[in-house]
Amino acid sequence: MAPSVALKRTPLHAVHVSMGAKMVDFGGWDMPVQYSGLVDEHLTVRKAVGLFDVSHMGEIEVRGPEAVRLVDYVSTNAASRLHVGQAQYSGLLYEHGGFVDDILVHKVADDHFFLCVNAANQEKDFEHICAANQFDAKVEFASDRYAQIAIQGPLALRTLERLTSVHLASIAYYWFKDGTVSGVPARIARTGYTGEDGFELYVAPAEAPRIWNELLNAGRDFGIKPCGLGARNTLRLEAKMALYGHEIHASITPYEADLSWMVKLDKGEFIGRAVLARQKEQGVRRKLVGFEMRGRGIGRDGYEVRLDGVSAGWVTSGSPAPSLNKNIGLCYLPVSEVRPGRSIQVMVRNQAVEAETVHTPFYKRAKTA
């Protein structure tokens, strides 16, 4: 069916179509949801290496002598504590403490920060940051200058090292280096959204198709596979990484979302701080918690959660977990009920199905030497 509004395309769109990916409308973008199959792709990332086009993600550059003051003022984590070459997960909040977006902040230089933001939020984020810019800082909407490719899995490093002279093993988790991949400039960040080791590469859009193909060739003997957003979602859910619009949105604060570690109240003033300081003192009423289905059924996004038959919360994400052979999910519950082993009921198409709250993350990769 013809969409009423033209869907946006990444620089890799033609590659996905020619390789036979199944394409879907993802927040206004025509994106690959799966290639060989969601479960196959998911397990390939857990055991070997997978390749994702995440060029729909947005990029915002903040430069100038007071760039760090602006980033610190609009985000919850402490950009001022980053070293050059280091990245951090952070939140952009409204004054009332709810999320504008969740973002990655990279410190490129003392006067230069590079933000990676969610595709559907990029314009909103840019306006939000500009509106807060009372500093000597320049904010630039840079999404058109970057394609982003994620290479994820235990064999990601060995694949990528065939295409770069950058010493990848010396890039620690949540650090990055600027270098070259396939002979062209690339920002190589040891970050990801799968719960596995891996890298996210920021490259010029025109170079993305060639780099994509060279990565697939470089990883062929490792069994590399192109992956879609379907596997990306189940991978991030097993690792309990938040998805904007699900676990977090404008009515949810970091403390409710179990993301207290991204909040640095002691760094000075920032947007949303007053509400967070009060929540820290008084506690929150509801909190995100993981669950496993005990009965037959899958608790999907938006399904009602009951405690002893009484409506008490809602599912934010839920799916079979391909690595775990369980049906898992995340939900909001009153904070007094948030403890592992609590029996809950998920309303699956008008039927109460038994489930139980559990420790998270559901999946944690084994640490290698």
């Binding site: 069916m1 199944k22 799966q34 199959g37 969601l38 379907g230 189940t234 037959r296 999907r300």
Partner: protein, 128 residues
């Protein structure tokens, strides 16, 4: 994909194969591809009355859950119990061993409203 000529197809991506007043119902290869890895199939009990175009159950993949719409009206006389243990069969043999239910049709003429294999092929070709 080859859509067998002896089946009739609905625009909701179910098929029916008739023998006398019994219609065997399944989902199409296009449907299983759209769904991806199938993990649950919910089917009605024997004796349940179903209506053409109304939900008779659901099929759930890792990604999502979808209704199954009955391509014919009548009463459920047989259910493919093997799918409860092996729902993934729907991904491999949607037009064969992974049939869903058999319906004693109350209005066999309804089948004439369904698409031929060639027309269905054209329909899914145009849709995607």
């Amino acid at each position: 994909m080859n859509y067998p000529d002896n089946l009739r197809y609905s625009k909701e991506h179910e098929w029916v194969r008739t023998e006398g007043d019994i219609g065997t119902v399944g989902i199409t290869d296009h449907a299983q591809k759209e769904l991806g890895d199938i993990v649950y199939v919910d089917l009605p009990k024997l004796g349940t009355k179903v209506e053409q175009g109304k939900s008779l159950g659901s099929v759930e993949s890792v990604k999502a859950v979808s209704d199954i719409y009955s391509p014919v009206s009548g009463e459920i006389v047989e259910v493919n119990e093997s799918l409860a243990q092996a729902p993934e069969k729907l991904n491999h043999e949607p037009h064969g061993a992974a049939w869903l239910v058999k319906v004693r049709m109350s209005a066999p003429d309804e089948v004439k409203q369904l698409l031929s294999a060639a027309d269905y092929q054209t329909y899914v070709g145009a849709e995607s």
